[in-house]
């Protein structure tokens, strides 16, 4: 049993190593030096305190969107909408952050965070209700919701909430009382994200709710037969998922960007899917997975500056790693289908094509 666990944990590590190897080959084929590229990644992501801070800063929202996707997957839901949920959370935290002017930090900061959490949860809640009571597939609903939310936030930031007397769509900067500080170059938001990872782990593996969530994810009919409220759990899981993504958006606004500006939160929600799969749907493993991606993303300047490597190499490495991690899951899923045709097997897959 233990050995099996070690092996299972080893898979992502090996996948990442192989991905780096393939990345090195791609760099070499481009006529650049993989050694210098490695040097660039080290320099850009961990060589000094500022670099470490940059890595942690990039990893923070990724942990949370990763957790968002994980919570959904545990309940058999594939939340592709983390991006939209994060955007809405981000702009609402910015709004509370700049609009309220007389609050002390102890009230203002958590209030703005809470706004992000609540408004990240709202669109996810709608998707959950649609799924539970109307049978609308969450993949479709979240994709559509993403489009709505991207355009809604764009409009808000370029319209009613736009900073006056300048041309770029963005909200005014948040008040100092809503800013999440950095302590010695290290972003405090990161530690909040880490705490959340443990909270989610505890929730999923040590509480009744977590057990119910997992049961619904593994087999809806069995959960129903056991007297669980499948509909209620579905809505709750989705809402929780959106709340986590919204928190990620709020921390981005309050800890990194300092306002909402369209385009500044690009791709964070989608990276969450990568992280959930790299972490093999384990909340605590989302931390190293996010750190890895954060480190690579933080290196994009140095990759170009030191090694003259196109920053797209990061996406190549991540895609290869993801493919290697996901391939066994898919193959197992296909084999399982053969054994018990039609029955939803690994909970990861229930949301996919059905």
């Amino acid at each position: 049993m233990n050995r099996q666990r070690v092996q299972s944990a080893l898979l992502p590590v090996v996948a990442v190593l192989v991905a780096f190897l393939i990345g090195a080959i791609v760099v070499l084929a481009d006529g650049k030096s993989p050694v210098r590229a490695a040097e660039a990644v080290i320099k850009g992501s961990m060589a000094n305190r500022a670099a470490i801070g940059a890595t942690l800063e990039k990893a923070t929202p990724l942990i949370l969107t990763g957790l968002a996707v994980i919570v959904g997957m545990k309940a058999g839901l594939f939340n592709i909408g983390a991006q939209g949920q994060l955007l809405l959370g981000s702009i609402m935290s910015a709004y509370v952050g700049y609009r309220l002017t007389v609050l002390p930090t102890v009230v203002h900061l958590p209030l703005a965070l809470l706004a992000g959490v609540a408004f990240g949860a709202v669109p996810a809640f709608v998707v959950g209700v649609l799924k539970a009571y109307r049978g609308v597939h969450e993949v479709i609903a979240t994709i559509m919701m993403n489009t709505i939310l991207v355009n809604l936030t764009d409009w808000l930031a370029g319209g009613p909430w736009m900073q006056p007397d300048q041309a770029i769509s963005k909200t005014p900067p948040i008040q100092a009382s809503a800013e999440i500080p950095k302590v010695a170059d290290l972003p405090v938001g990161f530690f909040l994200a880490v705490v959340m990872a443990f909270v989610v782990w505890f929730l999923l593996s040590r509480t009744t709710l977590g057990f119910e969530l997992g049961t619904v994810g593994a087999n809806r009919d069995a959960a129903h037969y056991a007297g669980m409220s499948v509909k209620g759990i579905t809505v709750l899981a989705m809402t929780l998922s959106g709340a986590l993504a919204g928190l990620g958006g709020a921390i981005e606004t309050q800890g990194v960007v300092g306002r909402f500006e369209p385009g500044f939160n690009r791709g964070l929600g989608f990276d969450g899917i990568t992280i959930a799969l790299l972490a093999k749907v384990s909340p605590r493993a989302a931390i190293p997975a996010a750190l890895l991606i954060g480190a690579l993303r933080a290196s994009s300047t140095q990759l170009q500056s030191i090694a003259q490597v196109a920053p797209e190499i990061v996406d190549v490495i991540l895609a290869v790693a993801l493919l290697l991690v996901a391939a066994p899951m898919i193959i197992r899923w296909a084999l399982r289908l053969r054994n018990a045709s039609g029955v939803e097997g690994v909970n990861l897959n229930t949301g996919w094509g059905s």
Binding site: A167, I168, T274, L323, A327, I330
Partner: protein, 365 residues
């Protein structure tokens, strides 16, 4: 056997999904084919001049130019590419070095600018309106480095920051005037990047006014990309679709202005017999060969010339803060030179001269 095929298909789908989610969401589709072609193009230019700071930039004698793009690419065949070509040319003429960093994440503007300051670049060239704020902040913090902001209009004068700006309305007006003369359906179309960027709006309004100047009957269909700054210039699919809509609505001259989005429009128009298209920023005859069947000219901002000029001014110390207005104009007609009626050419030349001198106002402020 069938199951295996299913698994493989799933694997493939997942890998495509990962690729799509990883980065440039908007830059898929027709964009990928372009990139390969462009890669070749940049390499040929780069052959003359090696990219990178290969000398001691901290030294007085060694002149180094660092370029930072917006979330765009130096091989975009228009805006960024033009600036990069200018930087390389300047480096060559001034016997110095040039290097670039492409911004992947908007949150990294500062980091990217800072990396060139750390490398002791003499000139930091930031390309695009969106970098304006980060550039101003960096200029104030680093008075010994000179900054050039392409398209960044300077409201207040910072002594070591020069905005390389253009009268896009003039270029748009010239192109529109030609379109007004060429159209047979009396409908002209414009497919533009976002209206959140003032120079794009100036292009669009100038184009409309120019077309109406030479052809009062003309109807102008002008469409701006609805997305944010992050995608508006990277969406050739939308550009193509929008150009097609304009064609379906009888437009027969289309202006594509907005990085890859505009390129998508040009390539779409090229598929239709008898329709004309007009490129933007650089002479796109050189950069988008797929558009040859329709590309009659391009509304040019001579960014490369402006960069070369300003870099030389930095080197000899004559540069001033504030704004520097670069030249605008129409690109050569190339294959259409023989096809355009002589009277059209005479008239457009007169208009170009009058707009250039300010005698003919564009009606855009």
């Amino acid at each position: 056997m069938r199951k295996t095929t299913g698994a493989l298909a799933g694997l493939l789908a997942l890998s495509m999904f990962a690729a799509a989610c990883g980065g440039d969401d908007a830059d898929t589709g027709s964009g990928s084919a372009e990139t390969t072609a462009a890669g070749g193009a940049t390499e040929t230019t780069a052959a003359a001049m090696e990219r990178g700071f290969q000398g001691d930039c901290a030294s007085e004698e060694v002149f180094c130019i660092g370029l930072v793009t917006d979330v765009g690419k130096v091989d975009d065949k228009s805006f960024n590419q033009s600036a990069w070509e200018g930087a390389m040319q300047a480096a060559q003429e001034l016997d110095g070095f040039a290097d670039y960093i492409e911004t992947v994440d908007s949150k990294d503007y500062e980091t990217n600018i800072q990396s060139f300051i750390d490398k002791k670049a003499d000139v930091v060239l930031t390309v695009g309106f969106a970098l304006g704020e980060a550039t101003t902040a960096a200029a104030k913090a680093n008075p010994d480095t000179h900054f050039i902001g392409v398209d960044a209009f300077q409201g207040e004068v910072v002594p070591n920051l020069t905005g390389l700006v253009f009268n896009e309305d003039k270029a748009g007006f010239m192109a529109g005037a030609l379109a007004g003369l060429l159209t047979e359906t009396n409908v002209v179309g414009a497919v533009l990047g976002t209206d959140k960027v003032p120079p794009v709006v100036a292009f669009g309004k100038g184009w409309e006014n120019g077309a109406k100047h030479t052809n009062p009957e003309v109807k102008a269909i002008t469409t701006y990309h609805p997305g944010g700054l992050d995608v508006a210039f990277l969406d050739p699919t939308w550009g193509g679709q929008t150009a097609k809509q304009a064609l379906d609505n009888n437009a027969d001259v289309i202006f594509g202005a907005g990085g890859k989005t505009g390129n998508g429009a040009l390539i779409e128009v090229a598929k239709k017999d008898g329709a004309y298209c007009v490129g933007v920023d650089t002479d796109q005859w050189e950069t988008v060969p797929e558009a040859h069947p329709c590309l009659v000219t391009s509304a040019m901002k001579l960014i490369d010339d402006g960069v070369v000029e300003l870099a030389a001014q930095v080197k000899d110390g004559s540069i001033e803060g504030g704004n520097y207005f670069g030249k605008v104009g129409l690109a050569p007609f190339h294959d259409f030179d023989s096809k355009l009626p002589a009277d059209v050419k005479t008239e457009i030349e007169q208009i170009i001269a009058d707009v250039d001198s300010g005698k003919l106002p564009t009606g855009v402020n």
